[in-house]
Symmetry: C2
């Protein structure tokens, strides 16, 4: 009888010996997940051939990543983000029908109870930053406008901070709002030009990025969650294509189709109409929602 | 230009996009490790196709695994153990020349400053359990005895607990000791028959084992670290082959060559000599150390 048939571990049979223990699992999905995780872990270890010290460093890294987490900080999500795992899970779960807008990561700064505002409202409550007006349409994949779509938008300010990161400095619900479309599917609101910002980089994940020669910045963007009855909810961003970090988002959230044009506009008439003091930025972007039962494109 | 050439993430090019960011890493070994880790992680995600909820469950599991760690408990080592990763790292780092004794996991209960004892001492300080005498030789791969080898031994008691798990219940340094060989390479000491015991199973790793239908037990064993000048240090166990969990060690530490015979002995003369009250267990096991410069067998 071979060693692995007795349940004894050998380097060659390591995967079969370990996954063989999962045979009494009641949850077949968990069994499948752990079979794959075990196999890929062992493949990684066999390829890396870590020393005992390197293995211990990995143990400490994972431990510290767990221990820095609290109500406000999720370092394992950050790790998943910087290794591209979050975007991969997003891609797998959001294979869209042709023509629908693409999704990207939610990020940690969404707030569930942002106020619903009248169309055209200015979500910048502290007059800080460069004025911006954003407009567009919410459409179905046939190009028809969607009525009663809810557009939940949030963004960082001109220094790269969200309101929840600067409680007491920024007003509550600064640069957040929910808008509802009418029969024309149109939306528009006023805001300020967002800026690139670093992901939290004072923990183990920031240290890892440093050691890998990677910067921690995300290019400037606006977040959207767009919901409408009978359509798939869309969680996405739009990005400033001229941002210095547009080709190196630390969390890999950028997609070609999410680049919007941020156009600098001099138009005193419109400035006056928008109650802007002078020149402003102008962004036009349509979003296309997939029907809830639309067939997916697949991988 | 393709999306991935701009640093944009796509499902198909996910590995190249993420590992492409490591090109400025100063530490080439870290770069190599993270390249492999990223590739294997993405392979696992693509094979599993986790839902967003499953991904979040994995994030919570890792977070809780980190958060239960403290000075006395290392749940990520436990996770590494039950997934066979610790034994795999041990195997990779301890490819022995033919004839040398095999290694196994250190475990979390070694104490650095156990007392050196005279040969034959009884390491059981509380007279609890079934008497046992262990003897053998420390040899080189030519079968020659090794002088001045230090044998650091520790074990759980007859209820499956180490002294450090029962401070105030067991005497300090109960069932621990260090012995030094003379020119004949022989060692012997007295102890009690160890018992199987569960790894700590009240945390996330214990919960995972339960959900996988796995038990948390390790078969009865004695731990050894054997050191001698000019020889590789050997960290290993010997196991009781009649233990009910011998074919299903929760941490995969059992190897064929580590099975020792635990023989029940009735011999009033020897019982008297050993100061045992009656029948006793007898274990004979030789250990063979590899020379520090011996060539390894390789994988």
């Amino acid at each position: 009888m071979e060693a692995h048939e007795k349940g004894f571990f050998t380097e060659d049979d390591s995967v079969a010996v370990v996954t063989g223990r999962n045979e009494n699992a009641k949850d077949q999905r968990l069994k499948q997940v752990m079979d794959v995780v075990t196999r890929k872990l062992h493949e990684a270890v066999k390829e890396i051939e870590p020393t005992q010290d390197e293995w211990m460093k990995a143990i400490f890294f994972l431990t510290q990543t767990g221990q820095i987490c609290n109500e406000w900080r999720q370092e394992f999500i950050l790790l998943s983000d910087v290794l591209g795992v979050s975007m991969l899970v997003d891609a797998i779960n959001n294979r869209k029908p042709s023509g629908a807008s693409e999704s990207t990561v939610l990020g940690p700064f969404h707030v569930a109870d942002a106020p619903e505002l009248p169309m055209g409202a200015n979500i910048c409550l502290d007059q800080k930053g460069e004025d911006m007006v954003i407009e567009g349409r919410i459409l179905d994949t046939d190009g028809q406008p969607i009525t009663d779509a809810l557009i939940d938008v949030w963004q960082a300010n001109d220094e790269g901070f969200y309101d929840v990161q600067q409680k007491g400095i920024q007003p509550d619900f600064n640069l957040r709002g929910v808008f509802r479309t009418g029969p024309d599917g149109r939306y528009w609101f006023r805001a300020v030009k967002p800026k690139y910002y670093p992901i939290p980089d004072d923990g183990p994940v920031g240290q890892l990025l440093k050691e890998l020669g990677r910067h921690p910045y995300r290019p400037a963007h606006l977040h959207y969650i767009i919901k409408a009855d009978r359509f798939e909810t869309l969680t996405t961003h739009i990005f400033d294509p001229d941002d210095p970090y547009i080709n190196s988002d630390a969390v890999f959230g950028v997609k070609e189709s999410l680049l919007a044009e941020f156009r600098r506009t001099r138009d005193p008439e419109r400035s006056k109409q928008y109650q802007f003091a002078g020149d402003f930025w102008e962004v036009k972007h349509d979003f296309v929602l997939a029907r809830a039962n639309d067939e997916c494109r697949g991988g």
